[in-house]
Symmetry: C2
Subunit: 209 residues, 2 copies
């Protein structure tokens, strides 16, 4: 069941199901849990929960529901907890550093394995996070079989960084630089335009006046 692409909405609910399975179950609940019970605990629609779980696990047993431990493992596997995808981040400015310390990524199956900066010195942030110089970038990515890259450099260097990522085998790029990047076909590119999100909210707000 692992090779399913689920919607972003489903993906967003999976960690919530995990939390219920790990934290909210008491002795009384027994070894099984039904979609109905999960829906109730999270204040979600039953049909939705059933659909989400079917995508990662299959149907529960009639009258019994899901075996809680099994379901937990299935969701964990789906989210990649058993094998976090290692990613590299390039650009250790404020945003880059914020992402480096963002705890949530691992809950969704990604671990930032290393951070790089165009500045050619090793920088130590806080206690231990190290930012490496770009001269080590290619060898790190190739040796680690890194497939996922995060770009948090400025507009001016983003394309160069992107090209270097593609060059050394990275297949999926998450871009925060406010510009368009050219990638060869076959490379997954996801642009994160924070200003646009805010503009959208502002636009709705202004239309209320």
């Amino acid at each position: 069941m692992e090779k399913t692409t689920v919607s972003k909405a489903t993906l967003g609910r999976l960690p919530e199901y995990l939390r219920v399975l790990r934290e909210d179950l008491t002795e009384e609940d027994g070894p099984h849990i039904s979609a109905t019970a999960i829906a109730k605990k999270l204040n979600l629609g039953e049909v939705q929960v059933r659909k989400d779980l079917a995508a990662v696990s299959g149907a529960g047993k009639p009258k019994l529901g899901y075996e809680a431990r099994e379901l937990t493992e299935e969701i964990e596997r789906f989210l990649g907890y058993d094998r976090l995808t290692p990613a590299v981040l390039v650009g250790a400015g404020k945003l880059g550093r914020a992402l480096l310390q963002y705890k949530e990524f691992e809950r969704y199956g990604v671990k930032i394995a290393a951070a790089f900066d165009l500045n050619e010195q090793t920088i130590v942030i806080g206690d231990k996070t190290e930012v490496l110089p770009m001269s080590l970038f290619e060898s790190f990515c190739r040796n680690g079989h890194i497939r996922l890259g995060i770009i948090t450099v400025g507009e001016g260097s983003a394309q160069t960084v992107c090209d270097r990522m593609v060059e050394c085998g990275i297949e999926a790029i998450w871009n925060f630089a406010p510009c368009k990047l050219n990638v060869p076909s076959g490379i997954l590119l996801q642009n994160e335009n924070l200003a646009l999100s805010l503009a959208h909210l502002n636009n709705q707000l202004r239309n209320r006046n």
Copy 2:
């Protein structure tokens, strides 16, 4: 024409049109510019450009297109350049500080007027950005008629901050804390889950194996 809610995609292209109007026009282009010419310069579909511009400006003149200066002003007005929406940000950790220095917001009509932190001391970041203590929050928002709030505090304090925002008249909230917030009906709430964006990309990547 100002009270139109346009799609996020259209909103994202408007600053690009502005750039063309401001920077790419030469003497030879004359005082008018056609949707066709703009589309060509940006490598976009003509129909799309025509539709986008119609939403903010109306149709161009047959054979002539748009009066460039007028169109510039219309897009600027639409994006709110003539009256930036003032916003407040609460939570001056790494992410909050990254957003404070993010230049792109003003290009989309929003200006962070002040930043606050639960830490009750005034902090000065860099040269001049000041982070104020929460004790000044209510009076600042009320006096400034602030309607837009950005939450970059942790999960534990997000609901409290959200309640205080609503209490003092904020109508639209952009939430970065990884948790669900309860807001009264009528309040616009937009959750920004960065981990989910990354998870979505990772999910696509893993399905290729």
